[in-house]
Symmetry: D2
Subunit: 274 residues, 4 copies
């Protein structure tokens, strides 16, 4: 028994996936015929339901990975491999408040909304109206729109929020907006960037040197899939070679005591007390 | 102002990190002298506090990445690069119920507890008593122990839970326990494994062929860090070449209609409806 | 001025490449019309020649890389990234004698013949008649056939040569033929293998443990290309993720003194005297 | 029986390697006592010889890989993974004439001299006197010095050679010397570069756009080693993450017919005629 309002993924006999926020009186029109959502509700996750043409659909509780892959896109979306790492580095948790600059199609927005839960809040800025609309559509389809404040606005005049827990930039020239970070992000808070070219990384690092950021970190993540054949196990022939470089840093705390400046966080090798 | 019960990270002038669940009357003994947690509470995140020897400490709200790196370990722990991806593939969210087989030092346990929040529940099985104790210690240090049921027990007789949202194995011979998965994991639910050698991956894939699992996926994740020098940008000289292979699959739904068997999930190329 | 008998590469206006061993009286029929090889000879490398339809062709001295890419294939060929490393590890040099088991389409054969020169000798075994013919065709096209003895024969009864400098296996079950190595390869000589799956690597390593081989080494080589755009430098989106695993070892020298067995080569960390 | 003048590698019981051009009357002083090279000559490759303290040494015919690893270095040397690919892309063969700008310790010089053989010629420019001396020493130790013309000279005034088959730059600012390439390299000839940072790659690509070069290619090569344990096969824990970026291009042929400019080589997708 699935509760109304819960998100379900319906998998067709050919593997096609439909996402729906369950409404018992809805009828889903598929390529294989009509499907009563009332029946989906009653069968529950893992259940089998049939269209009016007797085609079997499987009812699945989707993972975040399923959702990200389902995002309808007009832009390059951020990949799951990168999203997982971003979430950890930004410290996103149930209840977090996060600013995202450059929502695009909403892949990362989906993940941020997923993890912050009903008590968190995502502020997603997007300059282009068409992308804002697409992002909204993608969020609505999976019922996460209430957790996200979508702001169709350029960030050149800064952010309306204060003291958010984390900030992520997925824009072409993030260095142009660094000045707006201290008033929006909590002191000591984590900041992240995704950039496709090395030239952009270089410019960003340079710009950060004159700003109150510490512990800059640059990295890239590669995922290699294997053919899952036990007796002939080997990597797939081809792989994604590049999506983008990830850059992370911390906003420094303001220094109240100029005579005894504290070291910036992470200037030293990380050490952990027992 | 930080609320009692919140987690804080205190960074010493030399970069050493202390984690504490804030209790206003505690006095932290550091290598640099005593620190009043009352002062930490008042200064707030991003603030500067001084030991009785006048050494400045910075008060930071830790990210999950910080916590994972701080785990005191007696075992090989799972790396952030792998944890981020696992969380996405397992669909872990606020409120999730997850079984972890093989808690070890508690690196993944920490992440699972972090993301499922106060309304979720982690069931962590660990055969060895010393590891169970260490894992508990690590969770207590960061105040996440209430979200985790630590079970110091072999899994050869199965799991006590039913219908959990996801299941992860970090044990040496996971194929020995596959039979216990269907009674514990919700139908259609995601399952994951971490294995260090190709031989283990091959044995596991083979064992899964005779069990109700579909969509097996094998992959490895590599992270390459760069020296963050804008005018001489280049990868670090060395990197971690291997931590382990990740394997994911879905538990099939039981088939109520043997005359019209449904396809297993993911047998086909994934397709997404608009 | 190019000498008759030299190898030339002719590049069409559309980038199509033709390879010819120069014969002054030949007329090359291209998609762009006839080309007099006499003119090619006179213009020399780097020169421009015209077909009877006035289409310009450029005369180039091909590199080994050009030749390997031009190999007409019916089999998976060995990639340049792997060939370069194989050549170094096998110690192939002008004058070397090398056995290749599994010639296939002749990609590695081409490289071996290229480097050993007129005074070396390549012994290439190939079980299938069609591959043997194809390999011969590929070698003839570039004028290297005289350096190669192509042997259309199964290697299950061993090799006819003795004391060759190096031996390379590109066959599916190389472990079946290890017993024939000591009589063919010089003592202390290098041996190499290419295998696509981890299962094969594991079986081979196991089989080598009972044979007089030392210093086994297993590796894989990945090449990542970048888009050569100076102001937007970034890796290509996709790359070859896997061609095969390379395995190298040394044939032990026979031990004349059983009372004082010498260590096998490479059992220890490599050290180099000044 | 080894001929005087041949190169031998002597491996000590502890794996230490000595390289010598065999002279029958030499006595090698090792940490394990004196070794008569006369005996080495008689025993032959694969043989066992004893020091006057009765320690067994194994006589091996070294591979190029052995030689490169043995290079005594004061500079960062080029790695075998890169050298193998460079050799293929430059078309180095027995008899080739090659210019190397920036000899350093002589790692690549060794490889070039190895493959071009007695009829080839390597012109190695090195600005620093100490590196020139070290490079000479390294070549003499292995008997390849006669194939190399070591030129202790800055290349800012160009190269003394004409029409060489290939040219390789291992210097910090290769873009400063591109103007000297056309007079030294054969038209259509291959040129290569090794550069450690992305900034250098970007500057070089930019500089090449205004010069007669075509088909620029940028890439990096990664080698991942495995622990050669058949029943627990897995990659080594750590690997070299970066040595340098390789850049390759072709020198255009001069255009004799400005009214009908030919396309530069490789401007198009490579295609190969049957």
């Amino acid at each position: 028994m699935i509760k109304p309002g819960q998100l379900v993924m319906l998998v067709s006999p050919k593997g096609k996936r439909y996402f729906r926020v369950l409404q018992p009186d809805e009828v889903l029109n598929t390529n294989d015929g009509h499907l009563q959502m009332q029946t989906v509700m009653e069968k529950g996750f893992g259940g089998r339901v049939y269209t009016h043409l007797h085609r079997p659909y499987t009812v699945i509780k989707p993972t975040l990975y399923d959702l990200i892959k389902s995002v309808k896109r007009q832009t390059q979306i951020i990949y799951p491999k990168d999203i997982g790492y971003i979430i950890l580095k930004l410290g996103v948790a149930p209840g977090s408040k996060v600013i995202e600059a450059g929502a695009g199609s909403g892949g990362l927005t989906t993940a941020l909304a997923w993890f912050t839960g009903d008590h968190g809040r995502i502020y997603s800025y997007e300059r282009r109206e068409d992308f804002t609309a697409l992002c909204r559509l993608n969020l609505e389809k999976i019922g996460l729109e209430s957790r996200v404040e979508l702001i169709n606005q350029d960030i050149s005049s800064g952010f309306a929020q204060e003291n958010v827990d984390a900030l992520f930039f997925d824009v072409r020239t993030p260095w142009d907006y660094l000045e707006h970070v201290p008033s929006a992000l909590a002191p000591g808070g984590p900041i992240g960037f995704l950039l496709p070219t090395v030239n952009q990384v270089s410019i960003l690092l340079s710009a950060m040197q004159n700003r109150p950021f510490s512990s800059p970190e640059v990295l890239e993540i590669m995922v290699r899939h294997y053919k899952p054949v036990p007796e002939r196990l080997r990597p797939q022939d081809r792989m994604i070679a590049h999506t983008g470089y990830l850059i992370f840093a911390r906003l420094n705390a303001p220094d109240p005591d100029m005579d005894h400046p504290a070291p910036s966080i992470g200037e030293q090798e990380e050490k952990y007390a027992e």
